[in-house]
Symmetry: C2
Subunit: 482 residues, 2 copies
Amino acid sequence: MASTLLYEDLAGRLGAQIRRGLLRPGERLPSLRRLGRQERVSIATAVEAYLRLEREGLVEARERSGYFVRAAALRPPQARLPRLQARAPQALRNPALLDVLDVLSREDLLPLHVTTPAAELLPVRAIAAAASHVLRRDPGLALAYGAPQGLPALRECIARRYLHCGVEVDPGEVVITAGAMEAITLALRSVTRAGDVVLIETPTYYGILQAIAALGLRAIEVPNRVGAGIDAAAVRAVLARHRVAAAVLVPNFNNPSGSLTGEDDKRAIVAACGEHGVTVIEDDLYGELAYTGERPPPLRRYAGSTSVITCSSYSKTLAPGLRIGWALAGAHTDAIVRAKCFSSVATASLPQRAIAEYLARHDFDRALRRLRRELAANSQRWRDAVRRHWPADTRVSEPAGGMTLWLELGGGVEGQALLEAGAARGIGCLPGHLFSLRGDYRGHVRLGLGLAWTSRIEDGLRVLGRLADTLARRGAHKRTRP
Amino acid sequence: MASTLLYEDLAGRLGAQIRRGLLRPGERLPSLRRLGRQERVSIATAVEAYLRLEREGLVEARERSGYFVRAAALRPPQARLPRLQARAPQALRNPALLDVLDVLSREDLLPLHVTTPAAELLPVRAIAAAASHVLRRDPGLALAYGAPQGLPALRECIARRYLHCGVEVDPGEVVITAGAMEAITLALRSVTRAGDVVLIETPTYYGILQAIAALGLRAIEVPNRVGAGIDAAAVRAVLARHRVAAAVLVPNFNNPSGSLTGEDDKRAIVAACGEHGVTVIEDDLYGELAYTGERPPPLRRYAGSTSVITCSSYSKTLAPGLRIGWALAGAHTDAIVRAKCFSSVATASLPQRAIAEYLARHDFDRALRRLRRELAANSQRWRDAVRRHWPADTRVSEPAGGMTLWLELGGGVEGQALLEAGAARGIGCLPGHLFSLRGDYRGHVRLGLGLAWTSRIEDGLRVLGRLADTLARRGAHKRTRP
């Protein structure tokens, strides 16, 4: 009986250390021999203690490596649901959004703050070869103006690909744009006027917030729940209460949270928007990047009579710097082509022809499989690094796709403080308050997953974790001072 | 004495026929032998008559070809100066501007309606080689995101080149955009708000009118005098009377009229805008295309303390389809970079790198000299064709640079009617009413000069002329019917 009590006592103490974060997720526990020596118990008792902790889900055995504090000890960021009744449409009141450009432009930082796929993850040689081929074949054509709506061959490739996820698209409604962001801006310009109210989710991509601000629109937020996506009930509640001109939503792998909105919610959201005559502008930038390889359908799949403008681009899947995106513009095609023509005449020809050539001659699916595999691996690597090196009370998303990790810092540490401390050490991250209308998520940061995994990245993630720890201790110290 | 009277009489009759348009500019006169036979005079008398007409400037001898009705018989379009007192700021009321896209998108027309330089006039092989080189050297970099403000190496090239015309530009104020039109749009967005009044010239580029309409601005027009450019006195008068937020002007080779604003007017315009705190947005798209080769300075040259944002691009000088333009943004740099970033993130990398590479390794000046020479020749060829084949009362601009010819049709023919008749025969032209706020210039058309000269072009110009003639006769017939 004494030995029973001994191992229970030992397991209890170790469990408490894990729960309090003294032993961190991913951290290796002492070997059985060493634990026995430290605690002056037999190896058998040490074994019993670890088995007990394993049953409790706190540690895991790894073959030939010993026991580790478990992955499952990572908890996802809390879904801070805005109290809907208290929220009203309002203009952007987030001065930090004006500074994000300064952070994004810094080329001296280890780019954990951006969501750009690294060249190593993309078929750059094949795209470069396609571009060179196009230049050789007919240089005049590659450098000449194209039609404002975009290259017909490319519009057909884009339309055809949507068949893979059950969406019929007429090439005649595909408008080529300078990336998804221009598509969203043009769509907003075509269906709203200054002062209109737009429904968005929170957290959401800061670019959407900036576009809304630039067009003089107001916005109202519904929660995007970490791990569960946009809440259709919240959308319905907002539409019942407020006059909304358009909804700008990121159902597939929301940036920053990586959440995927479920099919039932998608269907219900589109139906609710249709009932209220609200045009849905869908940012489907990450739709092709499901780690399972199973592409979730865009909202457009459920459109029926609802007007859904799906926006996306090749910036995350083929070539960020070619700036080739599109809108599936439906009934808004003429208006969007006009807006495009009036603001930038047409999208550059060479990049359009290069991508059309790549798609005709190379295996886009194979390149995508490789990219997805790398991103899935990165999300595990990033999470592992957070487990090992960040404070134990850090909460972290477990994305099923996309290019971002969303972390909630513990110990009252603010994302802005981590950004500043990280930047001083040459490491980037984006503070969470950039991802909402009023600067919520002050305790969050977003990390990008698009980098090629190297020891430099691992070091960067470790340094950021240590800095978060230092900031937490400093804060705790301040809080306990008289 | 009898013979003197004979040749004077003959010259008088021929002169009257020329003046009444029965003998058309560019038309070949009968040979001396034939004229002698027709008129029953000696060849000596016929010679005397032609010499007399030559002294009067009505005909010209061409070596080994005989006598022709002179070029000088072409008169420039009338400068219809708007009565300034009667004009007030107003929103765009020109529904035709919504249709221009349909015309511009038609690929089945002989493209006399566009102002795009043909591949044959540009150094396309050198640019293609530069692009291929950039792709080979570092494909990852060529396809990666660049900074929102644009590639530093390219910004330096642009800044340096302005030294040629006495303008000091800091590369730090150069913002790369998707063509000059995006630069103008971003500049407008940065210095105006919906409802503001913008000063423009008339006629002016329809793209400027569309941008003004898209941003919900109102505009007030000052005349751009054919052959003399923007009238500084008119600018002063408007600024004294109206509160204006910005002026969008095309002082160097206005599109459509090709007029160059003189230096005194430029200086006075900038000074007047400075006095009233008006930001000048300058469309300097054609500044490098003076037929004499002497580049006229942009308004920026005279800026002093006036805020002048100069916008231009490589679309007319190197590669229309690469969509690389810029703004010299001065104090507005941050605002314009932000607006750029918020609407389309950044300009595509590959086109920027291709042009920077071209400028570093090839002789831009040589390419420009060739282009200017071709455009100058084209302006003469186009004018010659108009002389020969269009109704004699057609008035036509004599541009000193740029890429457009501006024609005033005689006989009450409308540009729209000529567009429709031409399109039915597969030939494009742009009706004049696209170039003003309220659809003035109904009797004008604009032709582009950027095509490579072939018999197809000559045929097209001839057919358009004949159509104008037919329309005039039909109109005259209607007018004379009881």
